[in-house]
Symmetry: C2
Subunit: 631 residues, 2 copies
Amino acid sequence: MKCDFPPPFGIKGTYNLQFTTVEFPAATHRVADIGKELIDKQVVLHGYFGTVRKAGKFLYFSSFHDYYYPNPARPLKVVSYIDTPSPQTTKTAHQTLGSLHQFTPVALRASVYKCAPSKSPEKRKSDDEVELRVKEIFPLNSVSENLIYTPKTVFPLEKRHLQLRTTKALCEALRLRSRTASECRKFLEGNDFLEVETPLLFKSTPEGAREFLVPTRKGNGTCYALPQSPQQYKQILMASGIPRYYQLAKCFRDEDLRADRQPEFTQLDIEMSFATSNDVMDLVEQLIIRIWDNILGVRIGPRFQRAPYWWTMKNYGTDKPDMRYSNHRIKSLHEALPHLAKAGRSIEGFIFYGNTPNYNTDQATELLEEFKRENPSAGGDNYVAYIAGSGKETQAYIEGGMELWHEVDLANIHGALWVHRPGAIVVIKERHGYYSGGNTKLGLLRTALLNKAVEKRLLRGRSDYAFLWVVDFPLFSPTTDDPSQPGRAPFSPTHHPFTAPIAEDIHILRSTPHRVRAEHYDLVINGIELGGGSRRIHEAALQKYILEKVLKMPQEKLQQFDHLLEVLDSGCPPHAGIALGFDRLIAVMMGRDSIRDVIAFPKNTKGADVMVGSPSVVLDKELQTYGLRRS
Amino acid sequence: MKCDFPPPFGIKGTYNLQFTTVEFPAATHRVADIGKELIDKQVVLHGYFGTVRKAGKFLYFSSFHDYYYPNPARPLKVVSYIDTPSPQTTKTAHQTLGSLHQFTPVALRASVYKCAPSKSPEKRKSDDEVELRVKEIFPLNSVSENLIYTPKTVFPLEKRHLQLRTTKALCEALRLRSRTASECRKFLEGNDFLEVETPLLFKSTPEGAREFLVPTRKGNGTCYALPQSPQQYKQILMASGIPRYYQLAKCFRDEDLRADRQPEFTQLDIEMSFATSNDVMDLVEQLIIRIWDNILGVRIGPRFQRAPYWWTMKNYGTDKPDMRYSNHRIKSLHEALPHLAKAGRSIEGFIFYGNTPNYNTDQATELLEEFKRENPSAGGDNYVAYIAGSGKETQAYIEGGMELWHEVDLANIHGALWVHRPGAIVVIKERHGYYSGGNTKLGLLRTALLNKAVEKRLLRGRSDYAFLWVVDFPLFSPTTDDPSQPGRAPFSPTHHPFTAPIAEDIHILRSTPHRVRAEHYDLVINGIELGGGSRRIHEAALQKYILEKVLKMPQEKLQQFDHLLEVLDSGCPPHAGIALGFDRLIAVMMGRDSIRDVIAFPKNTKGADVMVGSPSVVLDKELQTYGLRRS
């Protein structure tokens, strides 16, 4: 049935419209189901035609596909052929096919035929066994005439629906994501974890990064806040007698968006009572091994390497080293430069020597030039970088602000760095203060140089996986100007104020808090921090001590934790947990650099969904409902 | 290891504190694992002791339990006995047990013994086969001395952790919820549905109920909005070539909270391309049948009853009738009162006669009195209610504002309502206008009377399940003063502006829009609307026509749908879907009236989480970050 309408309007200036209806035959099969056993049978399929090739007025060739998951099938060959005795529906169908817009959704009634043997030998190799002969076509929507694309068309984020439709990797990412979520749930439920949903309308807390506020109509500045993680709620669950909790939780962070950040993201959130850090790490290892095995088909494990924070910082200048490239370690020049060491200065360096046949002094020089251009020295951030044996060493040391050069030092430095042959790139930098944060300056230079070397094929890129637990983080870090810094102390919690200190460091909490290690663990895969967790403080007294006496939190902020202290004080068992970035996990599994490639509708770097146009400007009237106005 | 601290602080005024550590033995078993086969073995368990009964200085009895899911085990019997040759650790453990706070989490090292045969015959029946003899106790937290409760203690929502710990039904609800989510996912994934996460930071739209706004730091009133449902995104997914989508989606509604509403809730969201309404209803029937079978162990089906909106409104005065109580239908008095019918007035009524042995005229009178007190007549909302044969009929008609009384009418009315014996409660009311909304006034009275009758045991309460699809809703409803009403027309979409009209009604869209039926379906279980869905408009032209010409949406609002129109215009297949209230589903399965009883951390009727104290007043400084201030 067609329902013609007087056309007083139209889409984008066209006025020829009629509303089709949805009276179409139900599908008898999917494209994937069509095979030899259906030869000579009639079938109904729902889907889309490929381009139509006209071999004359009476003979058209095309293909037909649907998008069924989990295994989208190869398109089927379609033949539409009519002659005089053909029934009228077939003739109409033939005509329809000839004029159909390529992306029209259709219901297709067709007969399954054995493929005619092809005349050309290379085509005969094709494993098409059957083809469809068109009997009747039901077009199910009109399609904009402006919509034209080829397999090479690249769509912007504004047209995410067309990106999704045409980008194979994106669809694969979504399927992998769905399957991985399933696998996680199966594993955790098999281990007696209970899935519990925790509120998203939470409370503003001084926990870490910035939060999004959600004003209420109560006015007076009364707001919910979107949670950065379900941390508090899951600790409450532990005290509520739920021994094992998990959730694929939505989390929010209102901070500047780096390449790998989204204002909203998903994390696999886990917490176990009566558990130690080891229990959690063991569990996550099993989970990751199972995912890699069942979904990627890659055997890993059985155990992941573990390294303390100070060790990764000392050797790689980062708390998330890519252990696939674990040579080129950073070395201290303490003994090589005793006069500087005596003056209390810490000089460190590393050398790089490529491992591909491409690598020679010329290539190294080019790499170094480019690297120095992209990582300019500036003020106090000077560094020394040169090719060993190039004769430019002296100049490099002077430019790098280390004018303490004489022959003995150079020999000592090269000895300490194990420079055995000319052509190695040497990078040297002074380090100030003790290790804190995610990277030293030299660590960032090292990572940048290695990435550049892989890009220029002077270092062999690797596609395997290196797993690492980084442990023994400092419990506190020097305070940055983060407005969410909770207390008046000159340091703040490295992760959050609920992380337990390592037991044997508790006695120095007050005297030398910056030396206290946290029972925190980060999981790093291929240099990417996939998530982190910790044993939590489960004793009210210790929690209060840290908030009040160590972090020196003012009374009004302390009050915001009253409920948590009461919960801990009511017989809360020891507990530990972890949160794994689910988007990042999928990105790592897909080998993608950006989590944007594994999210159906990501925000861009400005936090905007350019397809639907969010965020948008809200009317003053609407703001007033919430007792607010623009300042 | 204990780590004593100089006590300069404390919890709630107490100052005796020391931090315990978490060096405790790993559990070898769970409580559920302990049985005959472990007799004479040593085990380590994590959990909690019950109350300790002291049978003298050297002999204590207690019990031990943990909270393991999915099957929390019966507590084990515990005996602690010491004499002179007992080792020191056992003596210390005995002492510890004697003074331990009941809710202390502990690691317990114990031996499994065969139960000593009890002397009292009734105790001998107990199926305890083994008991634990205490060897060593590791207390793992201190517990507030103020924490005392018995099995009868009822905690307020502020102490949700203690509610969760002590309320069996609440824990069961959470377990059932987790299992049901699992079952839904398994079923849908088995039917090739892809789980896709859609954004929660969405855009303000004129879709329906009020939205929560999320201001951004861009200022200038730029806000995200939290979604009321993933409706638009799932339609975009259909156009993106994802044939079957599902998600357990978080949704938000900033509206006054009724008993059964929460500002945030979970819905099982489903959408299928190339699908008709029937396809979706069939799928959901299969899903519900499977859940009832696998989780509740109740066989239902194989098909659910279907009824059009007008039929349920006519017969029950509601669009969500409880079909377990499907007699006591509402009947029209059109023919019984021809003089009123001629005057264009619609009078309707129903009778109630109890089905329990309790029911007699006295009981009915009492029921009616109470019912009338709770449902007072007021102004235009008068109604007539009396006991047939009580002699008070005339008075009731006068009080009800229907002063058109004479003997013939009463006989006619009772004839039409099938009043065959005295003692029946008769309720009569005039209806104004055509059917719209969820209930007629008489329908509300009917539901109230039946509920009251069940409560007073005059109507047999039923614990079975009645499933009903209500279909053929009106596409538009008269406009209320809802500020989110999208257009300037005197009516608005009954559900949302994307619902497809029934094909054969399209031609009257412009002439008599209020008569157009929607291809919408609601699933009703036991009088509770569990969710609803529809075939969506998949043609850009029809969608634009409805927004622009039928709803008369102003241009600036129309623009907010540009992206959707473009998506429909790019070859979007026909599609239909549904959203089921997941919280309500669990509440129905648990036989609970309120969804609060099946949510781990619900908000109260004021939208507050009184445990953590959200929402809270935010500092002006923080509002300024978002370019806002209080008005």
